[in-house]
């Protein structure tokens, strides 16, 4: 991720918590080592907090720890899982959002002067609407309502809903999970997640993998289970989603305790597939069977930075097609411990062509490129577009 527009990459990193088996009580031997009356491994509460680190690339391609300088290190006391770097307030500078567990999630706003300021609570992405800390795990970033602003979807622990943080402008968010129809599966512990157009209709859907953390559940005969199915919510437009998991095939219904999920068109057939990491099992590769019978069109966009970092991580791409505008960020990492394909995939619905592509490069430059017919992969090089 490029935070300082210097053409070099910075990497935000987290450690979830400090764990020392010598000092950690065995299951059931302390109040934080029980869950719903069942002895389980301890934490996160009661165990020492983890930390966030920011590594900055030097000109010689090595990295240095710059956590203290930018102000990230000033925030203490959290169990952070997933950092995602994206320009969340639309000011052209990349910010960092950390999904945290049992502590407030954090949004570090890029202050444009080499420092960050934590504004998660102020912007509505730290806690739920009643001020309760959540069990934040995975994060997806996209623009589900096609307003050009980056929204966030965050998965949480069971007994809670995910968050669908709708960007209302200026990086202020409202949790739209209930009005979006996503608050219907609180029984699952959600992990890897993405805002991704799975049916090429031009609206970003939500794919979420699940799995509990306590193996003991299966022996305890509880209604919750260690292995859980995956979920797909189809974007209906108008800010609404529909749970179509039951119609999405055996790969969705299969029960695993999944964590990471990577989104990419693995078979290059024009739709997004998903690779899923499962605990104690081989990974799953879920092939999207849409292409065979679908008339919906698509394009892919790949970027090559020149002034910006070569992979153009941190760029924001907006396409105009069929009278609609769609926006996707080029992310360094998201979902949960995962890196999606760097090609950006846009479903076009019935549109036969893309009218234009606008790229805001990590360097800060904005360029407009000519569109193309559907079904193509556009390779856009920084400096070759119209400024």
């Amino acid at each position: 991720m490029n935070f300082w527009k210097q053409g070099l990459v910075s990497v935000p990193d987290t450690s979830y918590q400090q764990f020392d088996p010598a000092t950690t009580p065995p299951p059931g031997k302390a109040s934080n080592c029980e869950w719903k009356g069942m002895p389980v491994f301890c934490g996160p509460r009661g165990l020492p907090f983890g930390s966030a680190t920011l590594y900055h690339q030097r000109a010689d391609a090595t990295f240095e720890d710059v956590t203290k300088a930018p102000g990230i290190g000033t925030v203490q006391g959290f169990y952070a899982f997933t950092p995602v770097a994206a320009d969340l307030n639309g000011d052209g500078w990349v910010d960092i959002y950390f999904a945290s567990n049992s502590t407030p999630s954090m949004l570090f706003r890029n202050q444009k002067n080499g420092t960050f300021r934590e504004i998660g609570t102020e912007t509505g992405v730290a806690l739920n609407e009643h001020g309760f800390e959540q069990g934040g795990n995975g994060v997806g970033v996209g623009d589900y309502n096609r307003d050009g602003l980056l929204d966030i979807v965050k998965t949480n622990f069971s007994g809670d809903h995910p968050n669908l943080y709708r960007n209302t402008g200026g990086g202020i968010f409202e949790d739209a999970v209930l009005s979006a129809g996503l608050a219907i599966n609180p029984q699952f512990v959600g992990w890897g997640v993405a805002l991704v157009d799975l049916d090429n209709d031009g609206w970003q859907d939500i794919f979420q993998v699940n799995g509990h953390v306590y193996l003991e559940l299966d022996k305890a005969g509880r209604s919750e289970t260690y292995t859980q199915p995956r979920l797909v919510y189809r974007n209906l437009g108008g800010g609404k989603f529909e749970d179509v998991s039951a119609m999405a095939g055996a790969g969705l219904a299969a029960r695993h305790s999944s964590r990471g999920a990577v989104f990419a068109d693995f078979d290059n057939d024009g739709d997004i597939d998903v690779a899923v990491m499962n605990m104690g099992e081989p990974p799953s590769l879920l092939r999207n069977g849409l292409a065979a019978g679908s008339t919906a069109r698509w394009i892919k966009v790949t970027l090559e930075g020149v002034t910006s970092n070569r992979s153009a991580i941190g760029a924001l791409v907006t396409i105009e097609a069929g009278g609609a505008r769609q926006t996707l960020p080029r992310l360094g990492q998201s979902s949960f411990l995962s890196q999606n394909e760097l090609r950006l995939h846009f479903g076009l619905g019935a549109a036969e062509a893309v009218d234009s592509v606008t790229v805001r490069w990590p360097s800060g430059a904005t360029e407009v490129f000519a569109g193309c017919a559907a079904g193509a992969t556009l390779v856009l090089k920084e400096g070759s577009g119209r400024r």
Partner: protein, 338 residues
């Protein structure tokens, strides 16, 4: 023959003397002669260490005299000699005074075996389980109570709460659905089911049950809050104002309602009104971090970042200082019998 009679007499003598002493002890106690009664019971127990009446009555006497620690071993011995409802129940009471919750529970569980349909005992046992955060056990004993008295509305409501505390949402929901059918005129029953439905994301039916609860009991604040809060979550800012204000009219210190009202006002652009609402909430509920958290969001929208940051810091401090305000108690397993 004479020898045999003498042996029998010899065997009976200590017993009959112990009986007599135990009775004398009881009589003395009834006459208010504490020291005398204690002395006679002690003598009876010395003669027959397994004399139930002496052990039990002396134990009860000590318990009533607030000498619970001395009473406990006597009552334990009495229960070992002659287990029964009464001795186990009193043991439980005595343990309760000694703040030995797990022993209280075990004693009352033992008493319940002798009177398995004793509703009052089930209720006090459920309270004890609940106070110990043994929510699964709380729910289980209330389930048993419901089997004994299926027409008791309060038992349903207590059991629903216990299942919720235990995190067993499906069980809570099942009972809430039953309660709605059994008690159609109960605002609490309507509310509990509406509460479950909103947790499941079933907004429209949840609103319906919450509305019924509001109609059945206009002085019951929770349905008003949850109804208004659901509207806020649906971005229906204006319709949310009235129910939230009603919840606050009933219970002014109801912080979640203030926060939801402030959120609605904020989204209606009434930022100053929202701040005033939260200032009032912070005064009435000074340990709660929620009003400060919401203030932080509103100040940020006003462009007052330093105030926003300060409000956030206050919310963080309050959350740290008063964790119980925002954290639900976690269920824990009842320890295995030692």
């Amino acid at each position: 023959m004479i020898l045999a009679a003498a042996i029998v007499l010899a065997l009976l003598m200590p017993q009959s003397t112990a009986d007599s002493l135990a009775e004398q002890g009881l009589a003395a106690a009834q006459q208010g002669d504490g020291a005398g009664s204690a002395r006679r019971w002690q003598q009876a127990i010395a003669m027959n260490p397994r004399h139930y009446a002496a052990l039990f009555n002396y134990g009860v006497y000590l318990h009533r005299s607030r000498a619970e620690a001395e009473a406990a071993p006597l009552l334990d011995r009495a229960a070992a000699v002659q287990p029964g409802y009464q001795v186990h129940f009193v043991r439980g009471l005595n343990f309760q005074k000694l703040e030995r919750r797990e022993d209280t529970i075990r004693a009352w569980q033992a008493a319940l075996k002798f009177q398995p349909r004793n509703l009052k005992l089930m209720q006090v046992l459920s309270v004890e389980f609940s106070q110990g955060r043994y929510f699964h056990e709380t729910a289980a004993v209330l389930r048993e109570a419901l089997a004994v008295a299926p027409g008791e509305e309060n038992l349903y409501l207590l059991a629903i709460k216990a299942y919720q505390d235990a995190g067993e949402e499906a069980e809570a929901a099942q009972l809430a659905a039953q309660a709605v059918e059994c008690f159609p005129r109960s605002a609490r029953a309507q509310f509990e089911y509406g509460f479950y439905l909103q947790k499941r994301g079933s907004t429209a039916p949840a609103l319906e049950f919450l509305r019924k609860a509001m109609e059945l009991d206009p002085r019951y604040e929770e349905p008003f809050f949850f109804y208004g809060d659901l509207l806020v979550k649906q971005s229906e800012w204006k319709p949310a104002l009235a129910p939230l204000r009603q919840a606050l009219a009933i219970r002014p210190e109801y912080s979640p309602a203030s926060v939801a009202l402030a959120r609605a006002l904020m989204n209606l652009g009434k930022l100053d009104e929202a701040v005033a609402e939260l200032e009032q909430a912070a005064k009435l509920d000074p340990k709660n971090a929620q009003p400060w958290m919401m203030s932080s969001q509103i100040y940020f929208r006003m462009g007052q970042e330093e105030k926003a940051s300060a409000a956030k810091e206050t919310s963080v401090r309050l959350r740290r200082e008063n964790p119980s305000v925002l954290e639900a108690a976690q269920a824990r397993p009842f320890p295995a019998v030692r």
